[in-house]
Amino acid sequence: MVQYGEFNEIQIDVLKEIGNIGAGNAATALATMMALPIDMTVPKVNMLHYNDLAALLGGPENLIVGILIDVMGDLEGIIMFLLEKEFTHTVINNLLGSAVEDFSQLSEMDLSVIQEIGNILSASYINSIASLTGLNINISVPAIAVDMAGAILSVPAIKYGEIGDEVLLIEGAFIGNTEAKEEVSTKLILILEEKSLNTLMERLGVS
């Protein structure tokens, strides 16, 4: 059995590659939705401890948006998008044409747009894993929370606390091809149950 924290180099490379392909698909989906040409830098994929992840998100008390999606079917686990202020502002301003002034006072409409973005991005990730492996994978309706990074991360940390304290972080920078060349980054964590992790590795021939 493969366990978190016990990956060999090849297996980490496979997880990274899945992150890459997923992020490519996600960038295309985002570009289509926002009707903007969007370039994407090569995503960074790392296994990270929760404490370091909170630090990367501006500290445990920094306000972020978390979008939680359950993965079901042949693979079971969760995907969680962690959106920082800049990304959220860019998306809402672009799609709704309204300037978000206070991150703590997002409207229902703002939240529903963000939720939909999470839905589309995670579907494109999952689709890329599904088509790569031939596995049948479904995703749930996204749940959303705006709160302190540490508090949001406590949810995956607890749910998978018995498996380990590390998560796979896929970090992508999207560059809007506008005059401002705005760069916004997204962070996504993917956690699979141990059994699913093994299924995935087997399918990809690296178990």
């Binding site: 703590s104 709160d147 302190m148 540490g150 949810v155 607890i158 749910k159």
Partner: protein, 164 residues
């Protein structure tokens, strides 16, 4: 006055005039135990209700092992069990459940509640009385425990401040 920061799956014991702090409790629970006579207090930040029983477990991660550990550290530091009382914070449900999707997020949804129940059970076993709590609901909390008077200040992401 020094701030002693307690991380996730971590605990600390100190005395006045220190302040024990832990940041951004979501579904985790922060347990503050204080002896007002010796002005010694401890703060534990637990992640899960029950240990797996494995020797490699981090005892500070689970309510059922962290609380006995916190008690023994408090007593070693000179606090007296008969003067101790507890205040507990956290155990929120960070994500709303989807009604049309009841098979999925439900396990995530109840984690906070289960943590709070496990903490109460562990404190009952130690005969420590809970004199205040700020638990449940759907938002994160940071905790600051002033060991000079035992007052626990709870702050949320949106600026609300509460004293226990």
């Amino acid at each position: 006055m020094g701030n002693v920061v307690v991380g996730i799956s971590d605990l600390a014991v100190s005395k006045a005039p220190d302040v024990l702090a832990t940041y951004a409790l979501g579904s985790c629970v922060g347990i503050c135990i204080y002896d007002k006579h010796s002005q010694i207090g401890g703060l534990s930040h637990i992640l899960l209700p029950k240990s797996t029983g494995s020797a490699s477990d981090n005892q500070m991660k689970f309510a059922d092992t962290a609380i006995p550990l916190l008690m023994s550290k408090l007593e070693k530091a000179g606090a007296k069990r008969i003067y101790m009382s507890a205040k507990i914070v956290g155990g929120a449900q960070m994500f709303a459940l989807n009604n049309n999707n009841n098979n999925s997020n439900s396990s995530v949804g109840q984690i906070g509640q289960r943590n709070v129940e496990a903490v109460k059970e562990a404190l009952r076993k130690q005969n420590i009385k809970i004199i205040a709590e700020d638990t449940g609901l759907n938002y994160g909390r940071s905790v600051f425990m002033d060991l000079s008077n035992g007052i626990v200040t709870v702050k949320t992401a949106f600026g609300a401040v509460k004293q226990l």
